[in-house]
Amino acid sequence: MAQLELLDVGHCYVPGEGEDRWALKPLTVTFEAGKTYALVGPSGCGKTTLLNILSGLVSPTRGRVLFDGADMTRRSTRERNIAQVFQFPVIYTSMTVYQNLAFPLECRNWDSRRIDAKVRTVAEALGLGDRLKEPARKLNADDKQLISLGRGLVRDDVAALLMDEPLTVIDPQLKFSLRRRIREISEQFRPTVIYVTHDQYEAMSFVEELLVMKDGQVMQQGTPEELFESPRSAYVGYFIGSPSMNFLDVTQDGSGVWLAGQRLAMSWQPPAARVPAEASGAGAAQAGVLQAGIRPEYVRLASAPGPNTFPARLQAVRDHGPLRVLHVEIGGQRLALKLAREAGVPHGDTLLVELPRAKVLPYVGGQLATVVAG
């Protein structure tokens, strides 16, 4: 398994286009050997372009692709030695399960005893150990998809395993077991996996790190927990988590940060001198707005006034089963919070909510204000 590096790689499909309209804006990413990564984002975010650049289907407009330090930018897919799993299972219907798994090795002229041992190990891991003699076409969709995966795993020399929405055609009931299988297999074989999906939760369920993409840019790279706990932008806060993160407009003066006429303490103070609004486009107006972000999971109902507690009006209650989502209003701004079912529905429509200081993050112009600018 190899370490994959993208150095200042960018791509545009229309030659001569301005860089701000590129399908993939220049970026530098390192995919470490033996780790699992997911590229997630809405359609058109550039994730498929990025995957195709790794596989060699697309040759990037600029930048270099390195596999274990070797420049692969202009090499063909075949030379890059990668295994791919696509949306639809790709299997040889005329062959048995065994033959399907052995095929990539036969093509590389391995001797039959070595092939046999390897095929059996992989088949065992796939849970297809006792079905080797069956014709592959008789398997159901998720087993077929496992074989597509297995064909990548039998080769020891594969640089990376690229998966492009491999669960799309799988019945929702089978998704769980297949997801679990794939996760177990990747724990056992430790390949470098790049997994592309539009389903952020599917991705979080089986990779170590996610790259959240939007408009051809990587918005944030990190573990699921990092993305959840400290989303670097409002977009990540919206995209990860359900319901999405709350963002409340707040004001700041010399004495602190204010929400609905009350002081709001945050885990860290936002930079006092605001980043000047970028002098371009409609975003300029938004650029300097200061917001407080907090996950619905961390908002609590308070019984008595205290620091960071705010009076709120109850707007709606949504029963999700084990918990309820309460939509409340603080000073004209909407806020969602989660409440365990056993806590019941609060009486009356005036509530006190507490925004725990440690969980309130400052955002300036939609970006987490981690670095004090100026």
């Binding site: 679990r180 369920s205 990860i240 359900s242 999700h320 084990p322 056993e342």
Partner: protein, 359 residues
């Protein structure tokens, strides 16, 4: 206007799809049908729509035998899980299609189609073809067409299942608003998801293997599932079911040591039984609890489902928030015994923990 089904039965090529379905669906109410894939949900909708004949049973509305009325004379609209629209018609004509078939005046057609499209937020898309829209927008067109007709019966077959997560979240919320405007229609909505069933339904109908296994308000079904099967269907992740025994006021979960029965289960008779515990009533602890091995970790929305095996019993622990838990880790799991459900050995509910939250 009540839609009355009695003993609807359907089998196709030896496979039972519906078994003895008896229902009263009242106008102005939203019924969510929850069940796993192939539980018979779609068959039920197709029978209600008249797209599927039944082997036995009756279906009546306003004293009319609906089974004798062909599809095109019924007053029923349906939204499919695939985004089904007329590809050759633009968005406006798609919505206007049934209205024109119903011989409404041109003015009426224009008014209703425009209003309906505005409701689903597609006012600016009248002239587009469905193929030029995103999946979510296509489903909105289908919904607008169904709503514009103001039918007696509105059927939705897992309308959100093919959409991505954030869109599902958003449309789920919008559906509540949209359905509140359907007046005295009967709305039947099938789903596999707890959240949709609980959030959208005035009543929940739980189906399993072609049968209706429980009906009631969302809270009734969720707080007191009639059987272990219902408990597993209505909870996501499915409720943990643990075989156990009760002897002289003490209970034993599988092979674990005997402990005193919690107060709410005090009256349980001696003998084998099954205990149920929601994933939310288990938690990971750093200091005490039962030792378990992590076999899988799933993330759904903002929750982490940790699959563990404790003394050979697979269980799911639901954690609020997203956490990095590694496979194969040994963890300590605490169980809230005051939240235990007790089921008979056959799986019928004996005692449910009391809920403060009932509305």
């Amino acid at each position: 206007m009540t839609l009355t089904a009695r003993g609807l039965t359907l089998s196709v090529e030896g496979v039972d799809h519906l078994r003895d379905i008896t229902l009263d669906l009242r106008p102005g109410r939203i019924y969510t049908v929850i069940g796993r894939t192939l539980a018979g949900k779609s068959s039920l909708l197709r029978v209600l729509a008249g797209l599927q004949r039944v082997d036995a049973g009756t279906l009546t509305q306003d004293g009319t035998d609906l089974l004798q009325v062909p599809v095109w004379r019924r007053d029923t609209a349906m939204v499919y899980q695939q985004f089904i629209n007329y590809p050759h018609l633009n968005v406006f004509d798609n919505v206007a299609f049934p209205l024109r078939r119903a011989k409404l005046s041109g003015e009426q057609v224009r008014l209703r189609a425009t209003e309906s499209l505005a409701k689903v937020g597609l006012s600016d898309f009248h002239a587009r073809k469905p193929s030029q829209l995103s999946g979510g927008q296509q489903q909105r067109v289908a919904l607008a067409r169904a709503l514009a007709r103001r039918c007696k019966t509105l059927l939705l077959d897992e309308p959100l299942v093919n959409l991505d997560y954030k869109l599902r979240e958003q449309l789920r919320e919008e559906f509540r608003e949209l359905f509140s405007g359907v007046g005295d229609s009967v709305v039947v909505y099938t789903t596999t998801e707890t959240t949709e069933a609980m959030m959208l339904g005035d009543e929940v109908i739980v189906m399993h293997e072609g049968r209706i296994v429980q009906t009631g308000t969302p809270a009734e079904v969720f707080d007191a599932p009639a059987t272990t099967t219902v408990a597993q269907i209505i909870n996501e992740p499915p409720m943990n079911i643990i075989p156990g025994t009760v002897t002289g006021g003490r209970m034993r979960l599988n092979d674990l040591g005997a402990v005193d029965l919690p107060a709410h289960l005090a009256g349980l008779p001696d003998g084998p039984c099954q205990f149920g515990l929601r994933a939310t009533d288990l938690s990971l602890s750093s200091s005490e609890g039962l030792r378990g091995d992590v076999t899988f970790v799933e993330i759904s929305g903002s929750e982490t489902f940790v699959h563990v095996v404790i003394a050979d019993i697979p269980m799911v622990v639901q954690l609020e928030g997203i956490h990095d838990v590694s496979l194969g880790d040994a963890v300590l799991v605490t169980i809230r015994s005051d939240r235990l459900f007790a089921f008979s050995a056959q799986g019928d509910l004996l005692v449910a923990p009391s809920e403060q939250g009932g509305r």
